[in-house]
Amino acid sequence: MRTTTVVIGAGQSGLAMSRCLSDRSIDHVVLERGAVANSWRTERWDSLRLLTPNWQCRLPGYAYDGDDPDGFMTMPEVVDFITNYATAIAAPVQSGTTVASVRRTDGGYRVLTDQGEWQCETVVLAAGAFNVPRVPAFAEAVPPTVTMMTPMEYRNPEQLGEGGVMVVGASATGVQIAAELRRSGREVTLAVGEHVRGPRTYRDRDIHWWMEAAGVLDERYNEVDDIVRARRVPSMQLAGSPERATFDLNALRNIGVKLIGRFAGINGSHAQFSGSLRNKCELADLKLGRLLNTIDEWATDNGLDDSTPPPHRFAPTKIDPAPPLDLDLARGEIETIIWATGFRPDYSWLDVTVLDGKGMVRHDGGVADSPGMYLLGSPFLRRRKSSFIDGCRADAQELIVELTAYLDRRASPVRA
């Protein structure tokens, strides 16, 4: 089969691109291994809600129009939202189609699937950036008496025994799971490395409202100091709860979650934790301070100081004077370890020399280092919000310009 563009993945990114392609009458197909919004259907825990408020759920030619703009969608609601989008834009989705390989050809790419083969001039990688859990190699040394799980397998506290749980990693995922397990009555220890602290609301408005208004979410990939680092920063400690609760480390500590340093290694049956917890919390507190300074300055410059409560600062993160550095996993206090240590994309099907030494696609703002190949839905792809639904919209609308220009150049090559 032949088409101009093959889009791999029918999540928010692939569908946003599909809409942009349709707008320009570019013939394409969207290949999806499962059903539309597959990861949202199959790889998320039960209580999860979107981190971004409903009003911020915007895709090209589509937006949330329900009666709770400040709420946060549950997973079934996200699946509905994305599925309805696919219908509304009449996206040419071929579901139940797993891509086995993508290869370069003279004229473009050959996409081999379990449902046949596609030839195309351009290919859009939109299969997501969070396909495979990243678990440290020393997890293999955890005693077999301890059950291990990743957030992809975690669904709810009932899955776990009644014993103590160690959650490793303090990103949005780690703090949400730690809080849920603590509320279920379990003893919970959270191993904390580098993290990004954020309050759900500030000066009576959602932090995402402020970050969007002050231009933080739109900060561009070629404007930040160190984009390689920016793309690896963990997600902000946020949750979309109906109570609009804050999920920072102080909030977790207040409900009885024990905070310890980064899980650094295993020696025999002993888990070893870094003595760097104070520094990691100080870094996060200072970073939050800088974000709030940016917000306050923007509020003043834009005349919001009279209509919003005055600026304030959050209490520094409180940690114990001497958090434990060692924990004997053979003693049974920890029955389960949940590795909330991040995810990486799965490019096992990508047979194109476009991956860097760390297995990530080499790209410039989503324009991959392989002619006619584009990437979407990756952290800080083109702007800070790139990994959010609203980021797909902005990124797809810019990448379609690149993709179209590429097709035009091919159609009318410049003569020497």
């Binding site: 580098e194 020696n267 070893q272 870094s274 003595g275 200072l286 800088r290 030494g357």
Partner: protein, 186 residues
Amino acid sequence: MTTTDTPVNNGVNVEALLGARAALTEAPEAAQFQWRATCEWQNGTHSHSTVEGFFGLGEEQSHRTRFSFDADHPEIFASQDNGVTPPELALVALASCLTAGIAAVAQNREIQLRRVSATIEGAMDVRGVLGADSDVRNGFSDITVTYDIDADASPDEIRALVAQSQKRSAVYDIITNPTNVSVEVR
């Protein structure tokens, strides 16, 4: 008020460091360094260590001169106090590593430093090293570093310098994280 456009100068060549970072990102094999020291027992608890050569950028390298360090224990340990104690050398290593980092980060952030002073304290229950109580660890139970910094920056910017320096410090990492150590006899 006078304003001058004197460029920030903390004596750190940030361009060279950033250049090295970029070059070594592309050539990870050249980034493999080995730091070395040799140590000769003198008498009692006194030892004399020297540092001269190291390996890096794919070849043998050398300091401009040979540096030497004496270590011993004070007289209250029935020693002759010919040098600092090894734990004190560890404190020196941590303080000097963090201080170098502060200068480099300040230069990169265009913050002029005027004075950077650190006091470093390591608490230790010596019953551990004396074998008097097996529940007491040999090493420090706690290390506290206190900085006194005079710079053209706000208090939060100065705290951020110190925090970032810890994040990029080799010795801070060595001390706060476990390391496999092999001690062999020829």
